[in-house]
C-alpha cells in the first residue's frame, strides 16, 4: 500500500514551458487536492476534486489546470510556467465518504519545482 505518490520529485523549468505533475493514490479515496507550499505561508489549496471527472478551484487556482479522469489519479498542469510558480507542490487525498468535516487528509512526499 503506497498511499499517495507524486511524480516527479524535482523539476526545473524555463519560463513559458509547460509540465504536468502526477498524483496517484491507492486508498480508493473520493477526494483529492493540490496544494502549494511557500516559505512562511503554510499550504494553500490550488484545486481539488470530489470524485472522478470533477474538479473545483481552491484559494490560488490562477495559472494551473487539473484533471481527474481516473479516481486514483489527479493531474496538475502548468501551461506556461512563471517564476512565481516556483514552489513545493503537495498532493493529498481524503476518504470523503463519512459526510463529516473531520476526515484526515493523506499527503504525498511533494514535488519541488523551480521556474527560471
Amino acid at each position: 500500500n503506497a498511499g499517495v505518490t507524486q511524480t516527479p520529485k524535482f523539476r526545473v523549468l524555463k519560463t513559458g514551458q509547460s509540465m504536468t505533475l502526477l498524483c496517484a493514490q491507492d486508498m480508493n479515496h473520493e477526494y483529492m487536492y493540490w496544494y502549494r507550499q511557500d516559505p512562511g505561508m503554510g499550504l494553500r489549496l490550488i484545486h481539488y476534486s470530489v470524485g472522478e471527472g470533477t474538479t473545483a478551484k481552491g484559494e490560488v487556482p490562477d495559472g494551473y489546470n487539473v484533471s481527474r479522469l481516473k479516481k486514483q489519479n489527479f493531474l496538475l498542469g502548468l501551461e506556461s510556467a512563471a517564476p512565481s510558480q516556483t514552489s513545493v507542490y503537495f498532493c493529498a487525498s481524503s476518504p470523503g465518504t463519512s459526510g463529516g468535516a473531520d476526515n484526515e487528509q493523506f499527503f504525498g512526499p511533494g514535488t519541488r519545482l523551480t521556474v527560471l
Binding site: 499517495v4 499550504l43 470530489v50 470523503g96 463529516g100 468535516a101 499527503f107
Partner: protein, 114 residues
C-alpha cells in the same frame, strides 16, 4: 470564515524540556482542528485531531493538544522534547464550506538543541 494563527514562527528548546506550540483559531462553527508535522524534505503527517469529542487530544510521539473554546486556542504540547521532534508544525482547521478542505496556519519551526 475559518482561519488559524500560529503565534510563533520559530521555537527553540533543549532536549528533554517541554514543548509548547501555540495556535489560535477563528471559526463560525464548531471546528475540526488538526496538527500536522513536516520533517525536512518530507510530506506532512497527522499528529492529532480534534473533532468535538474529548477536549484533550492525544497524538503520536507523545504530543497532545487541548481545545479551549473560551480562548479559541488549540496549543500543542509535549512534556519532553527529543532531537527527532525537530520539524515544522502546522495547525489546521477544517473548512466547513465542505469537501474536507483544510486551512493551514503559516507553520512553526521547532528546533531542538542537545
Amino acid at each position: 470564515a475559518q482561519s488559524v494563527t500560529q503565534l510563533d514562527s520559530h521555537v527553540s528548546v533543549s532536549e528533554g524540556t517541554p514543548v509548547l506550540l501555540r495556535c489560535n483559531y477563528s471559526s463560525s462553527y464548531s471546528p475540526s482542528l488538526f496538527w500536522y508535522v513536516q520533517h525536512p524534505n518530507k510530506g506532512l503527517q497527522l499528529l492529532l485531531k480534534y473533532t468535538s469529542a474529548a477536549t484533550l487530544v492525544k497524538g503520536i510521539n507523545g504530543f497532545e493538544a487541548e481545545f479551549k473554546k473560551s480562548e479559541t486556542s488549540f496549543h500543542l504540547t509535549k512534556p519532553s522534547a527529543h532531537m527527532s521532534d525537530a520539524a515544522e508544525y502546522f495547525c489546521v482547521v477544517s473548512d466547513w464550506g465542505g469537501y474536507n478542505k483544510l486551512i493551514f496556519g503559516a507553520g512553526t519551526r521547532l528546533a531542538v538543541h542537545p
